[in-house]
Point group: C2
Chain length 188, copies 2
């Protein structure tokens, strides 16, 4: 989903500035699945304006930089409607953490335990944040998406907690029981 389409989508909900779009993607539940940097958003809005899909008015603010508030044109609304019907590309889950764990056998036991603890704590914090954000429901779509975020992160956390002994034990006793592992890792 390119940044232009993301901008169209957020502008279909309400008129917004580039800065507001960025904040929504940083702090909002949608930000768990969609990201974009300033370096992508501002050029995207410029190009959308050139193409006649959005327009903006400059709002002079007191003690703050001027704000460019963008709104969808009818052409922009139609373009977004069509974009939603396009084939959807697959989800992409990227994890440097799991890349490191791939090499668990080569890590020191203390370091391994430390990064596992740290990651579990991060997951807990993230779950708490999404839940607190969701005291104010915004409709079935957003609620559903937030729920899916919680389901996935909870599963990841639970997996780490329940299976960490498989790699932690190994890194301490790998001379004794090399390459053995509990087959139940893979479930059934």
């Amino acid at each position: 989903m390119d940044v232009r389409t993301v901008c169209l989508g957020l502008l279909s909900e309400a008129d917004r500035s580039g800065y507001e779009i960025k904040k929504l993607l940083e702090d909002g539940p949608l930000g768990n699945f969609v990201e974009a940097s300033f370096g992508a958003i501002y050029p995207a809005l410029t190009r959308l304006t050139e193409d006649g899909l959005v327009e903006f008015r400059t709002e002079v603010q007191d003690g703050r930089p001027d704000k460019k508030t963008y709104s969808l044109t009818p052409a922009g609304r139609e373009t977004f409607r069509k974009a939603l019907a396009e084939p959807i590309s697959p989800d992409r889950f990227r994890s440097d953490f799991l890349f490191v764990l791939w090499f668990a056998e080569t890590l020191e036991a203390d370091y391994l335990s430390e990064i596992l603890d740290h990651r579990i704590a991060e997951f807990e914090a993230k779950i708490a944040r999404i839940k607190s954000e969701h005291d104010r429901p915004e409709g079935p779509g957003p609620a559903f998406v937030a729920g899916q975020a919680i389901a996935i992160i909870t599963a990841a956390k639970t997996y780490l907690e329940e299976n960490r002994h498989l790699i932690e034990a190994d890194s301490r006793t790998r001379i004794k029981t090399p390459r053995s592992f509990d087959a139940t890792v893979l479930g059934d």
Copy 2:
């Protein structure tokens, strides 16, 4: 995790060509969390060679293009060891699918059901593939990573199956019960 580090990691397991690295990331369990294109891998290997972290030998093959098989130098092995101790950047889950569902209220009921069915089927296929790949265990790290992949995808699939009625029902009856949603979405 930049592509150069990924290459060092895979070369720390065995000597490999750029093409083999790409195939491992496409088909192997690590590919669920780490990706890289040819357009990134080949320049990365060139640069690693320039920096003295890897070296290669050209293998002339019968009826096939020559293969450049890369291997780590001691400096490369040391660089990778240090890279594993660097701070780990957060996981990133990107989903165009959930972006579309964010706008579930604006989608036609048939189309919504169709993409939900499709996504659930994709998850099932992926789970089956990872499990079959894992008939041959490769050590605790890889097994653990594959297990986490299955845990996450299973959770995502289960969530879709158990909660899809919340957005499907709504898109059919949204005039009657606008913006209502089942609070149990967010679990407890």
